[in-house]
Amino acid sequence: MRDVSIIGIGQTPVGEHWERSLRDLGTEAVRAALEDAHMTHSDALYVGNMLSGQLSGQESLGALIADYSGLRGIEAVKIEAACASGAAALRMAYVAVAGGVHEVVVACGVEKMTDTLSGETTTGLASAADAIYEGEQGLSFVALNALLMQRYMYEFGYKREDFAGFAINAHRNAMNNLYAMFRKPISHEAFARARMVAEPVSLLDSSGIADGAAAVVVAPTELAQARGLRPVRIAASTMATDSVALHDRDDLLALEAARASVQKAYVQAGAGPGDVDFFELHDAFTIMAALSLEAAGFAARGEGARLAIEGQIGLQGRIPICTMGGLKARGHPVGATGLYQVVEAVQQLRGEAGANQLQGCRLGMTQNIGGSGAIAVTHILERVE
């Protein structure tokens, strides 16, 4: 396998882009990433997206975005893995370049969620779950996370307010991210009195529904160095799956796919949790942040929430998470999210993270989760000296 790096990044602001379409957003991110890589062409385009068919009535996204980006004719396909679609697209780009099939591949994630009314968007998101045995029982995607959070609180003795630190940290970090959706701080009091969506999950436990697109250009590390570019090496790229339905899991609170994909990533990168300088995790809900920290080996079972309580997840903490706002405050345009995480990790590793720059960071990990833990895609990125 060839050594593979990210040589270009691009993103649109995350938010409610009523004036812009799915294709506008995707095209902007792809062209920005190519420009950043000093490239005008790629061999293939993989588009991560979850909801275009349901919410925009638009499929054939690979061809559409390739064409509008000025890449008509190349290999292009949509990659769907629910909320993990973005990172899954990068995984496919990695496989193609590492395996020697392609030289330069663009992975783009794009989502348009605000053209529809919230009930339709909620229904679309619920399609990440088991349509008959979860969706037809009346459960939303939020409700599935509520079942996880309720059980976690019951087993380990936490209160709802114990999760506030995840949301507060995310909002604080988003203030310095020009591309983030919610660039304002929130308080403990605001968290405590936030409106319930599915008890115990409140509005401030939940990531923002948004539009957005992010993209990266992937190439052999050798090619990048020969061209004098600033590569960020993909030290590990892994994916694992679990049952789609929560009720089919042996251990509801274990996030087995997240754990398995991280373990594979540590082996591939020759690293462990102690070597990772920061972790862009999938905080679609505060409970997912707690469970992801445990699955990745940063906390023991039942101790993930304690990292937020003890302030260990901030930029100066033991394991900084959501350094540019995370899903909670940067926003969660579902199929694009995995690539926003990667773009932000590249910014950190290049030293381009502005006021949120982590000093001397060398290894960053990103993890994108689909469904209520059914799909997990993990990448470990490394600064190249």
Binding site: T123, A146, R195, E199
Partner: protein
């Protein structure tokens, strides 16, 4: 839910019929024909008692399409006496009374209506198990 899908899943939704693995004996709901434990074929039907306990629960205030008029409603994971977890709504109970470990039993209820001319969909929900009072 399409008419065909509704018809296809009626045994599960109306009678809580799943499967038992003839190799390792594990009970499966919903049916899946391949045992997730031992990997062998598991196509033998098994009728669940419908009794279990609440494992986790939530009150929903924001619903997917078709369920809007029922909010707030309570959803739960129920641990059936025979082993599997089932995702379902709770009914006939005030949300302040719901606890993890609460005994419940399956009942057949209306789930939702697909508009004026559409299907009325029925399925399983769970209610608190009535305790026989001595005397």
């Amino acid at each position: 839910m399409s008419l065909a899908s509704y018809w296809r899943t009626s045994r599960q939704r109306m009678s809580l019929i799943g499967e038992v693995c003839p190799h390792c004996g594990i009970k499966l709901f919903p049916p899946r024909d391949v045992c997730p434990k031992c990997g062998g074929p598991a196509k033998e039907p098994f009728s669940f008692s419908g009794k279990g306990v609440v494992y986790s629960f939530s009150t929903m205030y924001s619903a997917p399409k078709g369920f809007e008029k029922y909010v707030p409603y309570i959803v739960a994971l129920v641990r059936l006496d025979e082993g599997p977890l089932v995702t379902a709504q709770l009914t006939d109970v005030d949300r302040s009374e719901v606890r993890a470990g609460m005994p419940v039993e399956m009942v057949t209820r209306k789930m939702r209506e697909e508009g004026e001319d559409g299907l009325i969909l029925y399925g399983y929900k769970f209610r608190p198990l009535f305790q026989r009072v001595a005397g």
